[in-house]
Assembly symmetry: C2
Homo-oligomer: 230 residues x 2
Amino acid sequence: MPLQNIKVIAFDADDTLWVNETFFRKAEEDFCALLEGYMPKEEANKLLFDMEIGNLPLYGYGIKPFTLSLIEAAIVVSKGTMPIELVQKLIDIGKKMLEAPVELIDGIEITLKELSKKYRLVMATKGDLLDQERKLIKSGLEKYFHHIEIVSDKTEKHYKKLVKHLDIQENEFLMVGNSLKSDILPVLNIGAHAFHIPFHTTWAHEMIYEEINHPNFKSFTKASDLLQIL
Amino acid sequence: MPLQNIKVIAFDADDTLWVNETFFRKAEEDFCALLEGYMPKEEANKLLFDMEIGNLPLYGYGIKPFTLSLIEAAIVVSKGTMPIELVQKLIDIGKKMLEAPVELIDGIEITLKELSKKYRLVMATKGDLLDQERKLIKSGLEKYFHHIEIVSDKTEKHYKKLVKHLDIQENEFLMVGNSLKSDILPVLNIGAHAFHIPFHTTWAHEMIYEEINHPNFKSFTKASDLLQIL
């Protein structure tokens, strides 16, 4: 059974260890409500999404890029007519997100506790280092991880680099995460293992619609299910 | 001679490998010029600095936090009366900084080339991962580095973690950088080596006024001077 080879298990952070996407959805709702006088909510939300995707190559992932996109999108939505107070409100939405309490995913702590006795665990995220470190400390999960791996994106190239950096072989690496696009497909493509634990909300940019049928792939409904096979 | 122990040399990135602070100074000047109608330049600059320092614990270092602080400071400077177009101009200042070409520090390439034959070189920065990776690729210096180490701050605690992560002893580690506060003092304090190569401009927050007299410390006027002793 090839799972016996596994030496390092990497966990995605946002929506795998703790709730994240829910905060973005809430912020998008607040954005649309604040700008309802200028544009119907659904249209404003679409414009914000396009702004985020347009800024992604330059800004990368995280709350600070999101905040800048909120402001830039609001300028477009209001055709440059919104009051300045609204800009401060959007900045404050971002600050509130950065300061939000950490809400653990069900069963994740016991899962990490048990797995950390048998494997080297790392946290692998494409978020913002300062922000992810802060969440990790607030979460109380820090003690289970050997270290944090921050990658600017989660592509095959990045995972190859990560595996090399961990000084192991591809088939000794297991990634656990909620995003098929970021945590699963590129990992399977380099010959490593990938387990999927979906979160109820996924950002449209991370959505893929594909059946996965791969010997190194498994899907679970909750974190603690991992303990049945690892 | 204790330098013979050195196994890994870490280079700071901004203002050690390439020009950086100059772009921030230019952006601050642009900010003050844009807001001159509301507040004398020097006063606006002071307010911007205070805003950046106030936001530092929440936002961390880099161009995106700086851009958010530009906007928030402009709201205060103009007492909420600036036109929305100004907000877009400030966002564009940040985007221009992210896209700016990389200007290498004199003599750094030949220095890295020679040192990479004898030591493992890493880049150690508290900047933004995506932004620093982009600069490293643009710079053409990537081939000389084993990997990038991104830290959320450069304190003794962070350097201890870094040395542990590199799997070496403190006295086998040498840090080279332009900031006494970030690259030199915390490194000396953990028993490692630190070489200072000042850049002509230093952010006020990084300034320290102190004579350093430590057996593991040396100061150089230019990068290529390193080759005389390493």
